[in-house]
Structure formats: C-alpha cells, structure tokens
Symmetry: C2
C-alpha cells in the first residue's frame, strides 16, 4: 500500500477546493469574464454593457427596470449603466409614462450590438468546443437550475 496520509485516504483532491463544484464554477466564470472582456474591450464594452445591449436589441422598447429584473441588476446600478450607454450614443431613452424609460438602440447602437453578438457567440463557441451538442444542453440546464 502506498504511503498516504489520513487526509488523502478520505479525499482524492490534491487541495481542499478541488472537489467543490462551486469552486470550479467560480473559477470558470472568472476566466470567461476575463477572456470576453478582453474581446469586448476592443469595441469599448464590458460584458455587462454587452449583455444589456444584446438584450435591448432583441427587446426593443423594454423598460429599464424590466431589463434589470431579467439580468438581476438592481435599479440603482441600472441607472448609471444605461445613462452611460445613452451618453455614448448607443442607446436612446424615451418616456413610457411619467416613470418608465423605454430603451431602444440608436443606429450606432445597432451596429455595436451586431458586432457584440458576433464576438460573444464566437467566444461561446470556443467555450463549447469540447462539448457535444447534447452535453452542452445538459450543462446549461444544470447551471440554470442552480441560479434560477
């Protein structure tokens, strides 16, 4: 029998976090965020801004708070986000009623959104390159049950 410590007999992990699913999700998320921010940084966007842009693209006229609810971004953090995109000429805001803001992409915003989608899908394709379509779907479904 090989020379092993008691701890090693109880765990196959070379370190105390290797066996934790949460740890690997966190690490994967960090790498993904970093990589994608590198690509999106070339067009002056963060991942968060890109997600917002893509969402508005597909839901023209969505309100700010509704968008925030979909992405779990709080009102207080949503405000400067859209204000910034508006200031940069990518998003157009108009009143729905006295409270709500309708969000739409400007022409420039539409161009940015297309480029964004291209970069994001390319990045995600690389991410899934080692997975079969079936594996990918299963993986997404498992992750979705975690956060939803």
């Amino acid at each position: 029998m090989p020379d092993r410590t008691l701890q090693e007999l109880h765990s196959t992990a070379p370190n105390p976090v290797e066996d934790l699913l949460g740890y690997h999700i966190r690490r994967a998320s960090a790498v993904i965020l970093s990589d994608l921010n590198l690509s999106l940084g070339e067009i002056g966007l963060t991942v968060t801004e890109a997600t917002v842009l893509m969402f508005i693209e597909s839901r023209d006229g969505i309100t700010q708070s509704e968008l925030g609810r979909h992405l779990s971004i709080k009102r207080a953090n949503m405000a400067p986000l859209t204000a910034n995109l508006t200031r940069r000429g990518l998003v157009d805001r108009s009143q729905a009623d006295g409270r709500s803001q309708l969000l739409r992409l400007t022409t420039e915003g539409q161009i940015a959104a297309r480029e964004t989608r291209s970069r994001v899908t390319q990045h995600d394709r690389k991410l899934c390159s080692t997975l079969s379509q079936k594996q990918r779907q299963a993986l997404i479904q498992q992750l979705e049950t975690i956060w939803r």
Copy 2:
C-alpha cells in the same frame, strides 16, 4: 403553424443570452458567491478569505506567492488579504528566507478553518443535490477544462 416572428424561428431562446453557456456560468457563479458569502459572513469571512484559510489549513507553511498562484490571486492583492487575516489572529506569518512568508494557521485560525470547511461543504452539497455522483464529476471536469 403558430404565429412566430422570424427571430423566433431562428432561435429557440426567449432572450439573446439564454443559449450562451458563458452566461449561465456567470449567473450560477454570482448566485453561489452570494449564497456562500451569506453563510460565511456569519463567521466574519468572505469566500475569498475562506478559500485562503482552507488552503493554508491543508498546506501548512505554504508561501504567500505560491498560494496566490494556486488561486490565481495576484501578489498585489494577496498582500492585504493575508495581512488582514494575520491582523485578525487567524494566520501566522514567518520568514522562510529574506523574501518568502510562510503561512500557518493560528489555533484560532484552525477553529475558523474547521467551521469554514463545514459551511462550505454544506453549501456545496446543497448545490449538487439534484445531481448524481457521476453527473457531478462530469460537470466538474467540464468546468475544469474551461478554466485550467
């Protein structure tokens, strides 16, 4: 045939990020981080601090920079982290040579590390509750290929 827009014919997703693996990993990571920070906050630790504590526990006398390399935490960010844990009496630092710091848990740190491990493993068990052991291993392996 049901009334569907062109976009819906091309994508089964109700929103433009639903189909992205990276999106779901990010969302899952955020929820995990938030939940675990809630539990660890009760004993005055963040997830990052807890990870560091657990790592030192299993690698008594590891150097600060080595620890940083394992967790991908930069030197510049490692310094205040360990300084803080030392100040709070959980970690003990001693010179290895003129440069390196050997990190060890104090008695108080060992107690905290045990409690930390208990809370972290409990959290992770809940996370994996819907998965079989085989699914869990496969999931971890897939995530590991992404970040490593």
